[in-house]
Symmetry: C2
Subunit: 217 residues, 2 copies
DNA sequence: GTTGCTCTTTGACCCAGATCAAGCGCGGGG
DNA sequence: CCCCGCGCTTGATCTGGGTCAAAGAGCAAC
């Protein structure tokens, strides 16, 4: 990786700032260092669908493709580690290991996208919300194993509207379903971003997931 | 590729036969030679979502993953060209070119999956049908350039129910929307599988696609 | 404190698409 | 030839989630 060290640089973005517009020439690839970014598509009439959520360590960009296919937006303050595209591609052809690692990551993303297709096409609003929370919880848990006793809790890194765009719902429906899950004791809220999960199995059941497949966002 | 020639073999499946069950050990990778296969997920209660449509030349399988994540089913009689997984993986590590080609294909599939997420999350039933027909038409056209004069026509390789599973609809809605598009002169039908498209731009407009992005299935 | 944001919740109503339920058309087998 | 089965269409009705509208809740600037 020492050759990569030589060509890398950092870029910072403020919350709300657009990193890349769909259709732009993409002169770099990189990965998220800190903060959260989203990958979205928008139709002419404004309908929007989030197609990916980029958390720290996630890769951005497509070696071999000149223009971006989706909008990338920072939803929190964001730091990215970037490599100019050309040198990165050269390095990739000369270092097979990198292409293989990238293939592995891309296959994981593809599986995640396909899991998401099931959610978008067939799950109810309640199941969608439960799925989103459990996925965020799983990622959080795998990162810093934060659990107070056996009570799992997470911060939702997205506004209600962003969740709606991710889940193929409206923000009102997201709000209503979160309220409903709270009323039914599946989750509890402190503020409107912090969620506690008294019983993770209950939540997974609400999500309609067949057992604990290794879905990742 | 001559090394690949040495380890390849063929498998045939009848229409309706399952190629691989989700969760099965996957002892081979391969690609479709002829016929059509689908990649589907099913929830315990039977709700089904198709997450991929495999046409000739499409790759099946995941180097580096022991079990299948989705059901693969032959919807027509199917011939696949297979490679036992272990030798293929060995070959991949020793032949960088293969990993790179595979990465390219996987990135294309990822883009297609993300396009499909927009369809599933945000498009209306009519737009979904129009999108499906235009995508099949585009693939057909790129394969054998079949067009009588300037009238494009395609055979739908799927039943109404399979289309419904692909689009996140019910088969009744699929049928109704196809009838509606026919009544409005956007398409015409001969039998219930063969579609003619008098005006491809009109169809693309109905699909809600922002211009002619290179979506592939 | 007040003003003015943005984000969120909640209510009332509506509609696209699901569900339930007949029928139709056509190809294969007796 | 008729019957049967399967894929498809069409109608009637229902409903989950969208739409429109109003109001609370933080919170930063003044």
């Amino acid at each position: 990786m020492s050759q990569l060290e030589q060509i890398k640089y950092y870029r910072s973005f403020q919350a709300g700032q657009t990193v890349i517009w769909s259709g732009d020439r993409m002169e770099f690839v990189g990965s998220v260092v800190s903060g959260i970014a989203t990958l979205t598509q928008t139709m002419e009439d404004g309908r929007r669908q989030m197609v990916g959520l980029l958390l720290p360590s996630d890769f951005v960009g497509r070696p071999g493709r000149p223009v971006a296919a989706f909008d990338v937006t920072a939803t929190t303050d964001l730091v990215m580690c970037c490599f100019r595209k050309k040198p990165f591609e050269d390095l990739m052809t000369s270092t097979p290991h990198i292409a293989q690692r990238l293939l592995e990551m891309t296959l994981d993303e593809l599986d995640a996208a396909r899991e998401w297709m099931l959610l978008l096409g067939r799950k109810t609003a309640r199941e969608k919300i439960a799925s989103l929370i459990s996925i965020i919880a799983r990622r959080e848990a795998s990162l810093h194993m934060k659990r107070a006793k056996d009570m799992l809790s997470v911060d939702l890194p997205l506004t209600r509207e962003e969740m709606a765009d991710y889940l193929g719902l409206t923000l009102e429906t997201v709000s209503r379903q979160i309220s409903a899950l709270k009323k039914d004791g599946v989750i509890s809220l402190e503020g409107n971003r912090h969620v506690s999960i008294p019983d993770i199995d209950r939540l997974l059941e609400e999500a309609g997931d067949d057992s604990d497949g290794g879905m990742l966002v």
